[in-house]
Symmetry: C2
Subunit: 480 residues, 2 copies
């Protein structure tokens, strides 16, 4: 698609917002030129990243006993309006279908902003006995929010194209609590595969999911120091079970309300992965989600060109047989232009093969993440490439993790918080009272993200607002 237009340079990553927008276009992830605000188009290359990412998500959910299913997009107004807290949370951002053809519908239909009210009427029918529990389903769907804020591809959307939402049912509050912990673990595992380290915290009560007992969340720290919420897990108590009449027969023959959880992850997972690993030259992709994992560049001189090309094709065949996605760039572009193009697309490993390499029976391997050059012996090329992938994956994660730690600042004064959140995430003691939490937020110009699931307290300290003693520290951050 109009390669020639893409010669302009990428802004430096320091100018994060510009860099992000340009990168999505130059690396062919998303096209923002669709004629409705907040709706974007996945280029095939971007979609291939999505496919690989969601295959990881599916794999991890399937092997932990979740089953994929699919519920309708359209929710009748009367079902949508059943749960009071839930309505309050969503009513301003729901799209309504009011007409079919030229006729008004009898009952307006909501485009799901999330699927509790589509799924739970079915759960009422399906759940009968304690033997049906736990029920652990998920779906990967498009959901809709009428966003009035500034929209941004992959991050703030009117059509969330890739919402993975899981909905589970349990016999007891404690079983549901254990499921919340499992979900946090699974999401952490997913992000480990994307080499994205996460902050995990419990959202303050005023920021929980509408209708939930509590909400735990995963956040990534973006290059500009703002956090991006990239996964949420909600303990729903029996709030929805009461509204939707979801009951089971216990072993002793009693009808009891079920307990529920739900948890979601979206294409923000891809926004975080791209933003954290990318650099001034473009995408840097973890090997597992790279649509092209290896690009082979033949180094051609007049003499021996055929041998070099034949060797490249042989390497390609062998790598493909090992399940590696590999392309040869035998185009007429000069080498520099080839490097530019494949670096922009985040190809983890470049193999260069020329006449001298053939003589030495090696390929030159260049890592996208570090630029490090190395030789791999051709007879062992499959193993050599896989070892490089493992090294890249490990080093991407470690680099991101140390970057994350570098951006967390333990503070004791609100003035300090105010300064540090310009660069990352602050921690500060908090007594746990709502008014103190909200006051802190007001004073520093950012909100409490949550109480870390792995406590970061430093013994007895004082709440900076009321002075009460506390052992709890909370994250405060500017957020997307």
């Amino acid at each position: 698609m109009a390669e020639s237009e893409k010669e302009a340079a990428l802004p430096p990553k320091e100018a994060f917002s510009d860099w992000y927008n340009e990168l999505l276009w130059m690396a062919e992830i998303m096209d923002v030129r669709y004629p409705v605000k907040g709706l974007y188009v996945w280029y095939p290359f971007g979609f291939a990243i999505r496919r690989n990412t969601y295959n990881i998500i599916r794999e991890i959910l399937d092997k932990s006993g979740h089953q994929e299913s699919l519920f309708p997009l359209l929710i009748p107004e009367n079902e949508f309006m059943k749960e009071a807290e839930h309505i309050k949370g969503f009513e301003d951002e729901v799209y309504w279908v009011t007409h079919g053809g030229k006729d008004p519908l009898d009952i307006p239909l909501a485009l799901r902003p999330t699927s509790e009210t589509a799924i739970y009427p079915m759960y009422k029918i399906w759940v009968r006995s304690h033997a049906d529990l736990p029920l652990k389903l998920y779906q990967i769907v498009n959901t809709f929010r009428y966003e009035t804020k500034h929209t941004r591809p992959l991050i703030r959307l009117r059509e969330i194209t890739s919402f993975k939402e899981a909905h589970t049912v349990h016999a007891t509050w404690e079983d549901a609590e254990a499921q919340v912990k499992e979900a946090i673990g699974l999401y952490t595992e997913i992000y480990l595969r994307l080499a994205v380290p996460v902050l995990r915290s419990r959202r303050p009560d005023w920021d929980k999911f509408p209708g939930a007992d509590y909400t735990d969340a995963l956040d990534a720290v973006m290059p500009d120091g703002k956090t991006l919420q990239i996964g949420t897990v909600h303990h729903l108590g029996n709030n929805f079970a009461k509204t939707f009449d979801i009951k089971y027969e216990s072993p002793d023959g009693e009808q009891r309300y079920a307990y529920q959880t739900c948890y979601g992850i979206s294409e923000r997972s891809i926004a975080a992965t791209i933003s954290i690993h990318g650099d001034d030259r473009g995408l840097v992709l973890p090997p597992e989600i790279a649509p092209v994992q290896v690009v082979i560049i033949p180094i051609i001189f007049k003499k021996g060109a055929e041998e070099v090309l034949a060797a490249c094709r042989d390497v390609q065949d062998r790598l493909r047989k090992s399940g590696i996605k590999v392309e040869i760039d035998a185009s007429d572009l000069r080498p520099g232009a080839k490097y530019y193009k494949w670096e922009m697309k985040g190809v983890p490993l470049r193999l260069e093969i020329g006449p001298r390499d053939l003589e030495n029976n090696v390929a030159v391997a260049v890592r996208r993440d570090t630029g490090e050059k190395d030789q791999i012996s051709l007879p062992d090329i499959e193993k050599g490439v896989i070892l490089k992938f493992e090294a890249i994956q490990k080093s991407l994660y470690e680099k991101a993790e140390s970057e994350l730690e570098r951006r967390i600042f333990d503070c004791s004064e609100l003035e300090e918080v105010k300064e540090k959140i310009q660069k990352g995430v602050a921690t500060i003691p908090w007594c746990g009272k709502r008014e103190c939490g909200l006051a802190m937020g007001d004073r520093v110009g950012a909100g409490i993200l949550g109480v870390p699931l792995t406590p970061r307290g430093k013994g007895k300290e004082k709440c900076p607002v009321c002075g009460a003693e506390t052992e709890t520290r909370v994250y405060i951050a500017r957020t997307y």
Copy 2:
């Protein structure tokens, strides 16, 4: 989910409509109890069939140079209303989003009934030069039709949950025509993998896609003799290119309108597969799309129970390592109840292993499609199972193909057509004139399906309406 409810017997397949509806429920494919007409819920088991089926579709499209992408669901009214023929074809069945939150939208948004008007504004931007062509993209999405007719799961839906639509762009009318042929070939290949033989024909002009030059289609013949359209391929000429201003620069530097095709396949592919292969005992699935491909039933007596279970687990491990989806049913159900349950779910192969089988170092293999029993030597179990899968696949297709041929009736009188279309598809000479075609349809109470792509003419014959000589025969059928 509430196994106990599912003991009722399936109606015989002869009572096709009842059989179909009950099967979808008893085999846990779709739940029809969602509280909006024409919207259904995929059970996890049904969704696993869908996942396997769409993996085949993706594989075949990807390897033929198609790329998956994703465009928005919501289409602004002004784009949707650009192509006059297209509007006429869809305006009565489009759902309109008119409100976001409590506010009316500036421009109403259509839920895509199909995506020409969402995709082609982007193609206008993307297509620049002959070097960008052909462009071959597809997406797998939910689409919406405000159906006023009788709805039916997987067949006539208000939310088509699984619409695979491809949209291609070419330099010339002839290139687009070649693409239509490629698409017909790819769809035939997809259906071969589902063991579903197809009728392929060119739709009469009055039944083509709104805005197309012509439409070719694939139909399955269902057990009640009605045809089900399970794939359509449209040559769009440059009609949409003119409307959406899609031009390319030719090698000689001229700006020319592009030519386009589009083609679609939906969950009707699954409706046809299930309907054609199923029997009085439930689903019969081609091995490739079966969520469970092998079920192992341990035949347990008091003596030697542990050895039998250990052997079953060993077989399961070995088959899993070969990539086969295999379950052991070691539940307390009596064998008859186990057979009933797994037969209903269409598991292609049942392996029974008891003490005597272990002595003989064999498993008893029972085919779901024929009931045929056979012994497979345990040391060769992987190979034995794969050979059975191949035999099942071949025999499912051959049986379906001979059934299809048996249901095609070459007729020479309209009275005969009227009788034969109660049992299947009739062929009859047709001069090609619109008025004769429509008159035929009126007289027999069914429409012309199309002109077979592989001609079925028998030399010079007479059009039964006007008496004109013709070498063309057309299909006439009752349709879903």
